[in-house]
C-alpha cells in the first residue's frame, strides 16, 4: 500500500506540474463569422479572406462582403471572428490585450478593424479582451476612386498578450 501511495504521489505531482504549465498557455484562432466571408484556414492561427475580383460600380461581391460607395472612395467590409483562450488553471490573468498591425505600409488604401485604422505600428483593438469568448471585428478596406485597377493584398498581424 505504501508503494502505491508513493507511486500515486509521484504521478499526481508530475501531472500537476504538467497541467500547471498548460494552465498558463494562451492561444489564438481566427474563425469565419457566420455572416462574413468564409476564411480559408478558419479555426487556425493563419487565415485568408479572398475577396476575388470586385469593382466599385456594378459586378457582385462575395457572400458575406458588404460594398458601399462614398463620394470619393468605395469600401468593402466583412466581419472576422477572433477567439483567444487560456489554460483553465490560470486565474491571475483575467483578460488579454489584442493589437493589430499591417505587415506592409499602404499609403493609398485605408485598412480598418472596427473603427481602428491600421498601420505598420500596432494598434490596440482591446485592452480587456475576454478569454474563450469569440469576438467579432469588422474588417474594412477603403479604396479611393483615383486608384487604378489592380491587386490589393496585405497581411494583418494580430498579437495577443495576457494581462
Amino acid at each position: 500500500m505504501y508503494r502505491y501511495c508513493l507511486l500515486l504521489a509521484v504521478v499526481l505531482l508530475w501531472s500537476g506540474r504538467s497541467c500547471a504549465q498548460l494552465g498558463l498557455t494562451i492561444s489564438v484562432q481566427f474563425i469565419s463569422d457566420p455572416s462574413g466571408l468564409t476564411l480559408s484556414g478558419s479555426g487556425t492561427a493563419a487565415a485568408t479572406a479572398a475577396f476575388g475580383s470586385v469593382q466599385a460600380f456594378g459586378g457582385t461581391v462575395p457572400t458575406g462582403v458588404t460594398k458601399s460607395i462614398g463620394a470619393s472612395n468605395w469600401k468593402l467590409s466583412t466581419p472576422i471572428d477572433v477567439l483567444v483562450q487560456k489554460g483553465t488553471l490560470d486565474v491571475l490573468s483575467t483578460s488579454y490585450t489584442l493589437t493589430a498591425a499591417l505587415q506592409a505600409a499602404d499609403l493609398t488604401n485605408t485598412w480598418k478593424l472596427n473603427s481602428v485604422t491600421l498601420s505598420t505600428t500596432a494598434s490596440t483593438l482591446t485592452a480587456s479582451g475576454v478569454y474563450a469568448a469569440t469576438v467579432v471585428y469588422t474588417f474594412s478596406l477603403t479604396v479611393p476612386f483615383s486608384v487604378a485597377a489592380g491587386a490589393i493584398n496585405n497581411t494583418i498581424n494580430f498579437t495577443v498578450t495576457a494581462n
Binding site: T25, I26, S27, L39, A45, A46, D90, A122, T155
Partner: protein, 259 residues
C-alpha cells in the same frame, strides 16, 4: 484489490483531466507561459524559457521581439525596445532569435533580460511575431502572434488606490452591480483581489461575492465591476468592497436602498 482499483481510477481521472486541458487549445498557436512574474533587484539578469506550440496544419515562422510595457493615461502601451528611458526590453537577448515550427511541433526560446540600474518600467512583453500568412487569392491575410508578459517587482512599494464605490440598482432584468475604480498608485505591479459583501442596514451579512484578481501595472487603472447574483428584497443595505493586495487591505462602502 480495492486499493488497486482506487489507484487505477485516480490515475485514469488524472489522465482524463490533463488530456482535456491539452485538447482545449484547438488547432491554433499556443504559448506557455503566458505570464512570468519576476522578483528581482536592479542590475540583475534573468533567463526564461518560453514554449511555442504549433497546433495548426501549417508550418509557422516566428521572429522574437521585446517591447517595454508602460502605462499612459491609465492604459498599457507597448513601446519598441530602446525607445523608453530606463526600459528593460533593450537588453533582451533571444536564443534563438527566430524559430520555425512544423505542424504539431513545439519549440523553446530562451530570453535573457537585464534590469538597468535605474529602471523606469516594470513589464516587458516577449512576442513571437508570426511571419506566416496563408497564400490566398488576393485580399486579406491574417496571422497570429503571441506574447509572454514578464512583470518585475523590484521593491515592496505597492499601493492600490480605490475610488468611491458606486451602485447600479437591480432591475427586473439585471442584478445589482457595484463598481469601484482601482488604480495602481505604487511603483510595482500588483494583483488586487477582494470581496464584495452586502449587509442589511442592521449590519447583518446577506451575502458575499469574490472579486477576481486583476493584475495592475504601476499607473494602470481598472474599473472593478462586481455583480451581486441574488435578488434583494426591498430595504436599506450597505455594499462593502474589500480590496486586498500585497500592500494591505482597503475597504470602502456605500449605502443603497432597494425600493
Amino acid at each position: 484489490m480495492r486499493s488497486n482499483l482506487r489507484l487505477i481510477s485516480m490515475l485514469f481521472l488524472t489522465g482524463v483531466f490533463c488530456s482535456a486541458a491539452q485538447q482545449q487549445a484547438g488547432p491554433s498557436l499556443a504559448l506557455s507561459p503566458g505570464v512570468i512574474q519576476v522578483k528581482a533587484q536592479p542590475g540583475v539578469s534573468s533567463s526564461h524559457v518560453m514554449t511555442m506550440t504549433n497546433l495548426t496544419g501549417t508550418r509557422f515562422r516566428f521572429v522574437l521581439e521585446a517591447f517595454d510595457v508602460v502605462t499612459r493615461e491609465g492604459k498599457r502601451v507597448f513601446i519598441a525596445a530602446g525607445e523608453t528611458e530606463g526600459g528593460i526590453a533593450r537588453s533582451a537577448v533571444f536564443d534563438p532569435p527566430a524559430i520555425e515550427l512544423n505542424p504539431g511541433e513545439a519549440g523553446n526560446v530562451k530570453v535573457t533580460l537585464t534590469i538597468p540600474a535605474d529602471p523606469k518600467v516594470r513589464a516587458v512583453v516577449a512576442i513571437f511575431h508570426g511571419q506566416t500568412a496563408l497564400p490566398g487569392n488576393g485580399g486579406l491575410m491574417v496571422t497570429g502572434s503571441l506574447g509572454t508578459l514578464i512583470t518585475y517587482n523590484l521593491s515592496a512599494r505597492m499601493d492600490i488606490r480605490a475610488g468611491a464605490p458606486t451602485v447600479s440598482p437591480q432591475t427586473e432584468n439585471a442584478n445589482l452591480m457595484v463598481s469601484e475604480q482601482l488604480e495602481n498608485d505604487g511603483q510595482e505591479p500588483a494583483i488586487p483581489k477582494g470581496t464584495l459583501a452586502v449587509l442589511k442596514s442592521s449590519g447583518e451579512l446577506i451575502g458575499r461575492v469574490p472579486i477576481q484578481p486583476h493584475r495592475l501595472l504601476p499607473g494602470e487603472k481598472f474599473n472593478c465591476e462586481v455583480e451581486y447574483p441574488h435578488s434583494l428584497r426591498s430595504g436599506k443595505y450597505r455594499a462593502m468592497m474589500s480590496i486586498q493586495h500585497e500592500g494591505g487591505v482597503q475597504t470602502s462602502s456605500i449605502e443603497f436602498q432597494v425600493p
